[in-house]
């Protein structure tokens, strides 16, 4: 009995030692719930065809102000502001099959994004900005900003546009207390009932307008739906003041139904620590439940890299969300500082496959 017991004790001791191996990290964090709007991380080398995190970059065109939409074939159509050879700001269209390899970026030699809209009407002034595309009934509805407000151009093929002769949303007359400038940077969504809502920047805030036909918009309420965050909030030791205490601008809106069945209007925006247009900026997230009401913003930025990032747009493809922003390109030597369009992805743990290559057409 003693011998047997001793041997069995040794076996008991040896088994744990023999079986103690090192395992992998494990998972447990796949497909976790998210609203799809970040936080985002910037794309890294190997995830984009060129210099990360940029997906649309050209020294001369200096792409800015992106707007993204997913086409029926799953590709991402990007509209952006570009400088043409004459030095005027125009709107171009490009496309990527994998959300990162956009036709006509610097690495796609021999191609350039197609110019789809250039200033032509008196109210537009010398430059166009703030494109926002909506795919409706087989047409591309492209909202954009000019000097006198926000206009609309429509196209069946996505390249040849017919524009409305007058702004669909002009400067408020008389100017309201907060809307001290002409509306700019539109972003239009279609609610489940078919009504269109436009979020736009004016002054230092973001307003909202509604339309039944997408051509004539009327303002919703007298107050902005999102204003700069109050800067008198007490801070913890080491805590930084709000990134969006100076101004909010460049809304990009998207609507979804939550898993609980609620209508969720999501808006990415540029938050400025000082005045709009300053370099100290980051991308924020504001939202509301329901069709109407003010937006409530998250105090944390969803994309902040310290490169003057602004003008966000985002798309959701499967479990991933891609954000496109305009930001500074780090230049060396005598190259002048310029802007280009960078991309980020959420969830941050996502690692992208190698780029699939450029599409033949924009």
């Amino acid at each position: 009995m003693t011998r047997v017991a001793s041997r069995l004790s040794l076996v008991a001791l040896a088994l744990p030692v023999a079986c103690a191996t090192l395992g992998g990290e494990g998972v447990g964090d796949r497909d976790l719930p998210t609203t799809g709007v970040g936080p985002f991380r910037k794309l890294e080398t190997g995830e984009v065809p060129g210099s990360a995190p940029f997906v649309l970059d050209d020294k001369l065109a200096e792409y800015r102000d992106p707007s993204a939409v997913v086409a029926p074939d799953g590709s991402v159509i990007l509209h952006a502001v570009a400088r043409d050879k004459a030095g005027a700001d125009v709107i171009v269209r490009t496309r990527a099959l994998d959300a990162v390899s956009f036709h006509g970026t610097r690495e796609d030699s021999g191609h350039t994004p197609r110019v789809v809209l250039a200033p032509a009407l008196p109210w537009e002034g010398p430059a166009l900005s703030g494109p926002s595309a909506v795919l409706r009934g087989g047409e591309t509805w492209l909202y954009y900003a000019g000097t006198g407000g926000i206009g609309l151009a429509r196209s069946r093929d996505g390249f040849t546009f017919t524009r409305e002769p007058a702004p669909v949303l002009a400067a408020a007359v008389p100017p309201s207390a907060w809307e001290t400038t002409a509306p700019r940077a539109p972003s239009v969504i279609v609610l489940p009932g078919g009504e269109l809502r436009m979020f736009y920047a004016a002054g230092t805030s973001i307003g909202e307008a509604r339309s039944a036909d997408g051509v004539r918009f009327e303002r919703v309420g007298a107050a902005p739906v999102l204003a700069p965050r109050p800067s008198d909030v007490p801070l913890q030791k080491g805590e930084k003041p709000a990134f969006d205490r100076g101004a909010v601008a460049d809304p990009f809106a998207s609507v979804r139904i939550t898993p609980a069945g609620r209508l969720h209007v999501r808006v990415l925006y540029t938050g400025y620590a000082a005045a709009a247009g300053a370099s100290d900026s980051a991308i924020g997230f504001a939202a509301r439940y329901g069709e109407s009401g003010p937006l409530e913003s998250n105090p944390l930025a969803v994309y902040a890299v310290g490169k003057g990032e602004r003008g966000p747009a985002f798309v959701e493809i499967g479990r991933r969300s891609f954000v496109y922003v305009e930001q500074d390109v780090v230049t060396l030597g005598t190259d002048p500082k310029r802007r280009a369009i960078a991309a980020g992805v959420a969830p941050v743990a996502e690692v992208l496959e190698s780029p699939r290559g450029f599409p033949a057409e924009p």
Binding site: M1, S9, A12, C19, G26, G28, D31, L32, A260, H264
Partner: protein, 453 residues
Amino acid sequence: MRRAPALALASALALASGVASANPLDTYGFGSRETAMGGAVSASVRGTHASYYNPAGLADTTGFELALGYFRAAHYLSTNGQDNQVDPVRGMNGGLVLPGHVFQVPIAFGIGVHLPDDRISRVRALRQEQPRWEMYDNRNQRLYFATNLALRPFKWLAVGGGLSFMSSTRGRLDITGSANIFRPSQSEVRHEVDADLTAVRYPQAGVKVDLSDSVRAAMVYRGEFQLGLDLTARLRGDISRLTTALYELETHSVNNFLPRQIVLGGSWDIRPWWTANLDLTWIEWSAYVAPVASLNVNLDIPPPQGGWPATITPPETPAPIRLQPLRLSNRIVPRLGTEVLAVQRPRLDVAVRGGYEWAKSPIERQTEGVTYLDLDRHTISAGVGLAARSLVAEIPGEIRVDVHGQLSVMPEETTLKSRPSDFIGDYRASGHIWNLGTTVTFTLDGASRKEAP
């Protein structure tokens, strides 16, 4: 017989002096017989698995006992219809019991072990905002190791107690030297790493009272423990002779928290061949410490003479984390179990078992900020056990083979977030867990089985 306890004690000391251990047994059970009975065994447990359920039960072991088993608990936990791929918990479990007498008082020494088969312990520090299945993702990826001593001073009374062992982790990283950003190969840095696993012990004790020949009562106490993770890092040096850099980081988190528990249990032999058990476990979840790291960072990189080049953006000191409290409520978990001796022969017994457990989630509904996923859990279990006696002449005693199957069902719940700008948003959560396993037990020189009438 003297060498066996010595070996066992040596193994206990060897394992206690550095490995991390913890307690997945609260969730998945320990031993196939006990798991099949829903864990409602504090008043009827005997043998090896008493090390976890009630150390007093060790005293009912009449011969040297060695148990070895394996189980696998597969999680199917999903949010919004998507499986979150929470890792399974699997591994060997078992232990041994060495009974004897001191001054004619029956005593027994027992060891209980659960050994995961792909890691001893996993440490994870997730961002506060990241959703996680708090009760199932990381807490159960642990080794459990306990040593206990029990005695039966009176025929109607058995008492037992012991320690479970854990290990806290403390680490320090020092990097000093010179970094050349223009010629990285010429950088000279010196690393110093100091890691320390400090043993943490928490007590457990139990008492078992035979109220009559057919009714038993038990009370068990399990202490609280916190598995800490402390890390400090210090980077100091110069950058290409342009400037100096100092980065100091201190982080502390509780990576695993086991709440204090008190179990009240009863066991009733309704018939000589039929036993019914009830356990009520009070769990002090309100003391729970969320596994979120507190972080102190000091970053000092003075600008070089003439200021920073336009192409360089110096990093900034991260803002401190504003920790959000995690509120949990104390819970009483009822467990029911039954065992029927379906076959009784001189050399063979066959037992059929069943059990049920209802564990209401202690985590309050989180409508804002953090998202610790958890759901109420209904667990049904069943199993069969075979006990064969004197099969081999060289090994007198009993060999038992027990198998169990357990299904936990977590009905779907929908959580509405109060803030529209929450990064997680509304979600639906549901899940189920399958737990299958087997245990083989050898008992020498006596039978620890319930005696047939």
